[in-house]
Structures are given as structure tokens and as C-alpha cells.
Subunit: 208 residues, 2 copies
Amino acid sequence: MARRKDHTREELKNLILEMSWRLVGKEGPQGLTARRLADAIGYAPGTIYNVFPSMDALYLQVNARTLDLLHGVLASPACHDAKKTPVQNMKKMAQLYRSFAQDMRPYWLMLFSHDLPETREVEPWYQEKIDRLFTSLEILLAPTFSGKQQRKMKMAARILWASTHGLCFLEETGKMPKLDGESAFESMANYLIDSFVIGMKTAPVAQE
Amino acid sequence: MARRKDHTREELKNLILEMSWRLVGKEGPQGLTARRLADAIGYAPGTIYNVFPSMDALYLQVNARTLDLLHGVLASPACHDAKKTPVQNMKKMAQLYRSFAQDMRPYWLMLFSHDLPETREVEPWYQEKIDRLFTSLEILLAPTFSGKQQRKMKMAARILWASTHGLCFLEETGKMPKLDGESAFESMANYLIDSFVIGMKTAPVAQE
DNA sequence: CTTTTATAATGAACACCGTTCATTATTTAT
DNA sequence: ATAAATAATGAACGGTGTTCATTATAAAAG
């Protein structure tokens, strides 16, 4: 059987990616295996390797899609409201990130599952998708810093991003001690942003 | 063959754990498999299951050991120097965390690899080991807050912890855009701590 | 000093996994 | 109608965690 042409190469690629997405959503990253995937699309396992070089490459494509969705959320007007203060927008952005993590849990967790080939270098196109996310935050911080403080602004953006992610990640994976009965992400994120923004202008930054 | 008594049950348990530790250190979490482990200690794979209920349980024990080591570092006098300011000690603690992450990379990464049975609840004894880490930071923050601000202090500790971890994690896993050529963890951690400490007293905190 | 009982250790077997590649079936070109 | 090209296959390889009837040994009983 060859060139069944049920699907063109491109169609097949999309089909595989779409089914991968569904499998991860339903059963988590563990649910995405070559055999299950082949079964679900009505092809043999080997066929997948005619389209993707490895399952890892496919995982990466799923992650890429997740990053695109996340970027869509963080670049949305919901947290770039000109009528609101930068701090308000930042708080909103933190909430959006947290909501994304909860709503898209298996996809979001997959972004940080690091059992992959270990130390492999991230490819530029993938790094670009990551960098975009930080840009969304830099846009909110830019007005607060002068032109000569670009480096400081970029550092602030990285710090706020990493901090928000840290809060979200530790909480979502049960690695944060409970404070009261409930999750306190929102109040902690708000406290973080308020505090950091107050201090970030007067605090010094080490020279490059 | 039974009751070879080469080792008592306890000895065998220690032997397995010790060898697991070495395997993870040498080849990462992937290197710790039932067969390799059995081979390394001179027993059959089935024997491991007479001592540990599953490989996951063993992974958890390795993580427990890592957490103990980390606690030893963060509770050390190096970052609890009475002659230094709380901020200085906090900065030192952040550096110690980062050094730990680098020096014990495979163990440290394993703490956050979340391919485990997914949503399994963390057992209390394990949660306790996590909570201890936060306590080390609370000790540094305590003098800065009044008795009535205990909740606020605990929130500040969780925020600073999560933020530092976030910085470290994103950087170590290549998910942080490069700022200059080099890693900027130290200067970012310092900037974070300086800024947050400046603002954390005046910034409001949502009521419970 | 047997003989029985209890049990520690085994390792083949099961159902999975990612991946390879010679083979096959089908389409396209001659 | 034949030949060349190629899409799809699926058995096979070497791995994984886990189970459990079997076996070999140590302890207890006779």
C-alpha cells in the first residue's frame, strides 16, 4: 500500500498533529504514544515516522501550539487596556496565565516536563515563541522606564514573568505550602506585583 | 533461593536507595530503571518489588533525599548570619539555591519532573520536607514584620521562594530569553530581592 | 538429625514503549 | 502493458514497569 493519497503529506501532518493534541488533552502527555496515535488516525505506527522524525519532534509541535495559544492570551486586549494602569494590566496578565495553566493543564504541564533528551539546545523558532511571551510583559513595563533603562526594564520583565510562573507552577504541582485552606494565587500575585513595582525603580541593578 | 541474608531487609533497602542515588547522579532520572538497578546491586528485578511497592515510590525516596540535602543547605549558617542584614542573607540563600540546582542538576530537575501518576496527592511526610524549605526563608523575613503581620510575612516568604525558583528553573531549562550573552541569575535575583523588600511593607495584602 | 514450614529471591511472562527497515501495494511515468 | 518510484506497512529489536508461580534456602518442629 502506497500513496493511498487518502491524504496529502500536508493533510497527514495536520491530521497527526490534531490527533496528538486531542490525545494529550484527554489523557495527558502519557497518552500520546506512537501506537495509540497510529490507531486513532487509522494508519500504522511506521507512517508517523514518515512525517515526523521522532515522537519527541511531535511533542515539540504540541508544545509549539500551546505556546501560540498562550501568546494569544497574553497579547490580548484584556491585559493591554489603555484605560488601565500598567499594574492593573500586569495583574490581569498574571490571572490570565494562571487561568491558562488551569484550563489547559495537560498542555501547560507538558511545556515544563523535562524528561526530553535532556540538555538538547532549543531550536531558534521555538525560542522565538518563548521570547514573544516576555515581550507582552515588556510592553506593559516600558512606559515606566526611561530609554536609558531598557536593560533594567527587560530584567524587571523577566523577573516578574519568572516569579508569576513560579507561583503558578509550585501551586499547581502541590509544591507550595498551603497558607490558609485555599489557594492564594491571586492575592499573592497581586502582592508580588504591587511590591515589586514599588521597589523596582529605586532598587539598583548590577552593571552588565 | 531465599533468605540469602546477604543483607537484612533494612540493609537491602539502603543498598537499593544508595544505588538509585548513584544511577540518577550518573545518568539522570532516565538511568534509574528496575533492571539496571537490579543488575547494579546483584539482585533480580523482582527483588526490588519486595522492598519498594513501585519504581515511583523509589523515585520519591530519591527526591526525599534531595530535599533533605537542600534543606541542609538553606538552613546552614551561611545564609543565617546574624552579622548580616536579612536582605544580604536572602541574597545569599538565593545563590545557594541556584548553586544547588547546578551542582545537583539531575536530582534537582527530578524534583519537578511531573510525569508521575499525575494528580496524586503528596503524602504528608513529603509535604513536610517541602514546608521546611519555606521555613528557612520565613526565619529571615520574620524580624521585618510585626506579630500582627504573620500572614503577610508568610505570603512574602512564599512569593520570594517561588520567584527565586522560577528564575532558576526557567534559566536552567532554557526557557528564559537571554539578556546579555551570559546568564544573569545573580543580578536578577538581587534585583528581585531588593525591589520586593522595598515594596513589601507598604504594598497591601488582600484579606483572608 | 531429619523433616516440615515459612519465606526471600527469582526470572519468565505480560503489556506496553520508541524506532527501524525490508517488504508490499499502489500510483505515476515510460 | 510495462517499468520505476514511493507511500504505507507491520514485524522485529531492545527497552520499560510490574506480576507471580516457582525455587532455593533458612528456621522451626519432630
